[in-house]
């Protein structure tokens, strides 16, 4: 209820705001302010009924990192996809320097305001840039813009691909833009670390009352985007040491209480992960076809993660239609004791219509069906779900 109140209170402010970023000059300093918001609402239509952990299902997780879940509690649900973001940038007298902060309040986090971005930027040349501070991890194609509904063709990201325990990092990044023959090239290198308190991701798997902290150390990686006329491809690689600390146990469905977990990976065992992703896109003015593919390899672990998606968008005058198929499956590593019947797997098919109300706002309607293909020994098994979501997006 509290999250709905936050959204309702902020909504009129956003509607009345000027549809362009505001600028203020104070002496030699220039300040620019802008923002984005999504008012999302969903209704679970059907699915596998029953209690899963401490949730009353059918359930569909739309945002793993932020614990955004539509469940079977009935009625309209505003929290999982609603959010409001404000960004401010200070430009220094030396035009090479700027400082940017972005805060986001999410319904899925009870309206709590999180500082998502806070970085200083130094333009080394017009082709290269150095940024230091808190930024988004560029794991997936839409990672950077995952909160900005107006930049996305869906009411929420396909959770099969966009689901991992950390999305930000504190560190340093170097960006370089150039052209080679007919190719536009954009490359980024980064290094840093991240600490997540009360991980939303682990609440999805261990229950809403569970508390797990996550630490990623020695993050190193980068991405390269190649663009030529209508074709674009992007590849990224990221590696880090990972560590989780479960503070109060995991939810036991049988006893309906939190019980200590025997999983050593939830008790500070340090492991390494290597994340590979690649995407391809064909943008033919009226048509946009994009695919994304992900592999997370953890040397020594009993499974590997694979995720894929394929989406087709047809652009019409003033509106768009997008069809998307996304799947996630974990593959057991038998040599490490992995159970082929104990792996998570699900596929999501969605159809989204988007109508532009103005050059700064849109409304979307999305219907999606998720099918649980997890092994018989896999828990928690959220089951199948059919969900209808509506969203109003605006930038200002």
């Amino acid at each position: 209820m509290r999250q709905m109140l936050v959204v309702v209170l902020l909504f009129p402010f956003v509607l009345l705001s000027h549809p362009a970023s505001a600028e203020q000059q104070i002496g030699d300093f220039r300040f620019a302010g802008s923002g984005f918001m999504t008012l999302g609402v969903g209704q679970m239509l059907s699915g596998t009924r029953g209690a899963v952990l401490d949730k009353n299902c059918p359930c569909l997780v739309t945002d793993y990192a932020q614990n955004g879940i539509y469940d079977g509690s009935g009625g309209l649900q505003f929290a999982p996809d609603s959010k409001l973001g404000l960004q401010g940038t200070a430009y220094f007298p030396d035009p090479r320097f700027s400082l940017t902060a972005q805060a986001v309040a999410r319904g899925s986090q009870n309206g709590r305001i999180n500082l998502e971005w806070l970085y200083a930027s130094y333009q080394i040349s017009d082709a290269s840039k150095l940024q230091i501070g808190r930024k988004r991890l560029p794991i997936f194609y839409y990672s950077d813009s995952q909160d900005i509904g107006f930049a996305l063709p869906w009411t929420h990201l396909p959770p099969q691909v966009y689901g991992w325990e950390a999305v930000n990092y504190n560190g340093i990044s170097f960006q370089y833009q150039t052209q080679w023959r007919d190719w536009d090239i954009n490359a980024q290198l980064l290094a840093g670390r991240e600490q997540v308190k009360d991980s939303g991701y682990w609440q999805v798997y261990n229950g809403q009352a569970s508390r797990t902290d996550v630490q990623w150390e020695r993050i190193v990686g980068g991405s390269v985007t190649l663009n030529r006329a209508w074709f674009e491809t992007r590849g990224s690689y990221l590696q880090s040491d990972t560590q989780r600390n479960n503070l109060n146990g995991v939810f036991n469905s049988a006893t309906q209480t939190l019980q200590p977990s025997a999983d050593a990976f939830l008790h500070n065992r340090v492991t390494q992960q290597k994340i590979y992703s690649v995407s391809f896109a064909a943008d033919l003015t009226d048509w946009l076809v994009r695919s994304e593919h992900l592999l997370i390899d953890r040397p020594g672990a009993s499974f590997k993660d694979y995720a894929n998606r394929l989406g087709v968008t047809r652009r019409f005058s003033g509106w768009e239609l997008t069809g998307d198929v996304a799947e996630y499956h974990a593959q057991a590593v038998i040599a490490q004791g992995g159970d082929p019947q104990g792996q998570e797997s699900h596929i999501n098919q969605s159809l989204t219509t988007r109508y532009f109300l103005s050059p700064q706002s849109d409304v979307k309607a999305q219907i999606e069906h998720q099918r649980d293909r997890g092994g018989v020994n896999w828990q928690p098994k959220y089951g199948n779900a059919t969900l209808l979501t509506l969203a109003y997006d605006r930038i200002f």
């Binding site: 972005q102 082709a127 813009s145 536009d184 954009n186 003033g318 050059p359």
Partner: protein, 139 residues
């Protein structure tokens, strides 16, 4: 019945009237020579940030949603202003590109381009005057 069918056909048929041409303009003393449509698109979409001459182009755009802005992106990219804004939302809210400087109207555009050797702008072809250099006519 025929009137209804005719009215519906009128409503559904695309508007065929040609859109007025636009002039891509630069400072008279700049080292920009003729630009291709592709170069103009890349500069205004933040993909081309340095020219072969070493000049760092500074594209200038219009504040709000004026008709000329809608026409510019439609002529050059085939996309609506909303779709271009969606692209820019992704770029500017994620630290990838700094937002383009926005100006009030064509008179301000002509003055701004006239003062800045790296600036690139666009005005209606009829508005382009001797204070600026026309690099490309887009129609």
């Amino acid at each position: 019945m025929k009137i209804i069918v005719f009215s519906l056909l009128l409503l559904l048929s695309p508007l065929s009237a040609a859109e007025p041409a636009l002039a891509i303009i630069a400072n008279q003393d700049s080292d920009y020579s003729n630009l291709t449509r592709r170069q103009v698109v890349d500069i205004f979409m933040g993909k081309l940030t340095v020219m072969n001459t070493g000049t760092f182009p500074q594209p200038l755009d219009y504040q709000g949603n004026p008709e000329i802005r809608e026409r510019f992106y439609h002529l050059l990219t085939g996309k609506s202003l909303a779709q271009v804004n969606a692209y820019w939302a992704r770029m500017s809210f994620t630290g990838q590109l700094n937002p383009t400087r926005l100006l009030n109207d064509q008179k301000v555009m002509l003055r701004a381009v006239g003062k800045n050797q790296a600036a690139l702008g666009y005005v209606d072809q009829a508005e382009a005057n001797a204070t600026v250099k026309t690099l490309l006519i887009v129609e």
